[in-house]
Amino acid sequence: MWPLSRFIVSSTLRRSAVKCITEHQQNQIVMTRELLAHFLPVVYTSRSYSQRKGFLESLMDNIKQEYNKDTELKETIAKFRKEAQELEDSDALKQARQKFKDIEKEAIPEALGKVKSKISETAEGFGKTEFGKAAGKFTEGLSGAAKQAADSETLKKAQSILTKIAEGSGVAPDSLYKRPAKLRKRNDNPFGEVEREFEANTDATNVVMHKDSVWNQQWESFKNSKVGERISDMKMQFDESDNVFIRGSRFVTDKISSIAGGMFGGTEISKIMTEIVKTDPNFSAQEFIEFCKNDIIPNMMEAIAQNDEEIIKDWCSEAPYNQIIFPVKQAEQIGCQYELATIDVDHVDIAGATKVDQGPVLVISFQTQQIMVVRDKKGIVVEGDENQVMRVYHVWALCRDVEEMDPRAAWKIIDQSMSASPMLL
């Protein structure tokens, strides 16, 4: 619709343009035109018709032209293809191709060779320069130093260690379990006496009372006042009432206060820790765990392995001593020796805490990988399997002797339990 309207408009414009142009000449030509129109209506009308039909006609003409061109194009393409084929089959092209291939074969290695020679030339030239000489010395120096290093003691040692590890014996990395060089009792302090001596301070005579805070005083006075007494009476009634509803609400409030209080009141472990810190200001949980992992546990394990009853007795109280020493005694009874090889200690954790009469108790749990066998005098394995590693879960309760000042000697095993299971890999 649009193009047609545009055409109509443009054609009318053209006609009007023609009219405008010819208006000047109208006085002169109008007569001729009218005469022409009169005499040659066909011409005039055909012109006007050609202007209207011109679009369609030109369209048809275009299509015809395109079609003709198309056929021409097809013919030319066919001709071109024929000629191209002829060229392909021609001998000249074949020879040219062959020649190209030969050149290719020769050219590339030649080119590479040229590049190589060029590079080596430049390298030589570089080597001859000052800088190159210095660089050469540097690399020589490096290799020399490397040789020296290779001959050095430490490297030899490191190599030997590596070969030993590869063969399955030798020094293990730091994080693995290490056998303690010397077993010790609790009071054997390899670093010497660290005893702090306490003397009574007889000079200070002024003792100042610790002043309670203002809030505390106010709270105390309130509790002792009449209102406070009334409230405490009511609370007593609430606690001891038998009414169903009150019992129900008491149950709910108790539950909530235990949960909420647990969050803010601190755990059992926290209370025990606070107490331990009072006696030993430098105490910390991490330090204690490190102490267990590096000192107490390896000590005990090696003591059991070497069947050193004295040391075990020193570190344990009665009950755990009997439990630990039981397999050793049994092996001795049948004339064999109980062997325990500890491979690794890991996952040392403080599992809980409690308080007994002797002092605060920390419960630690850990896992070991051990090989437990019973050998007779000739060395033959009587019970157990040499190559079977057992994963043993231990739980020890360590009590801190409050009178002992030295933290390294203060802990004693008052309970222990273990469970072993074979490991596959």
Partner: protein, 163 residues
């Protein structure tokens, strides 16, 4: 096909790293809270206790999670390559395989039990995922398509000619 994830070989590292960071952040937070609670009284003690505990525990938890993610992704990609399909069964079997592999050191029976637990866990996760997908699809399906009257803007007027 899930186009948001990398293709299979690179997906393994992706999952391993993601699991490691998840374990690190989660384990760090939990161990910090636990350390603070188990520390002696006093705000300094609790802070130090929390930090010390987190310092020890967080890398361990992160490593465990990372190893779990790595084995899970390995099994998953292997199953996809074997079966030439991507469906929830891959995840379930991978979960079982991961449980088995990670517990094998403790013996055959614990490994089988761990595999069962892993499989059930993954089955639950996949089930929830499928249920969510179905629910979302239903949500979109509930509006019936309304037929619009063909609005002829040019009714009897000039028709647009296709030139």
């Amino acid at each position: 096909m899930d186009y948001t994830r990398d293709p299979c070989p690179w997906r393994i590292l992706d999952d391993c790293g993601g699991a490691y960071s998840l374990g690190f952040v989660g384990g760090g937070l939990f161990s910090m809270v636990a350390g603070a609670r188990n520390a002696p009284k006093g705000i300094t003690n609790r802070l130090m206790g929390g930090m010390a505990n987190a310092r020890i525990k967080a890398p361990r938890t992160a490593g465990s999670f990372g190893v779990w993610g790595l084995t899970f992704s390995l099994c998953d990609c292997s199953l996809v390559a074997l079966r030439q399909k991507e469906d929830p069964w891959n995840s379930i079997m991978s979960g079982a395989g991961t449980g088995f592999i990670l517990a094998i050191r403790q013996g055959m029976w614990p490994a089988v039990g761990s595999a069962a637990i892993g499989g059930i866990l993954l089955a639950m996760i996949e089930g929830v995922g499928i249920a969510l997908n179905r629910f979302q699809a239903d949500m979109y399906k509930q509006q019936p398509p309304q037929l619009e009257d063909s609005n002829d803007a040019v009714q009897g007027g000039l028709q647009p000619a296709a030139y």
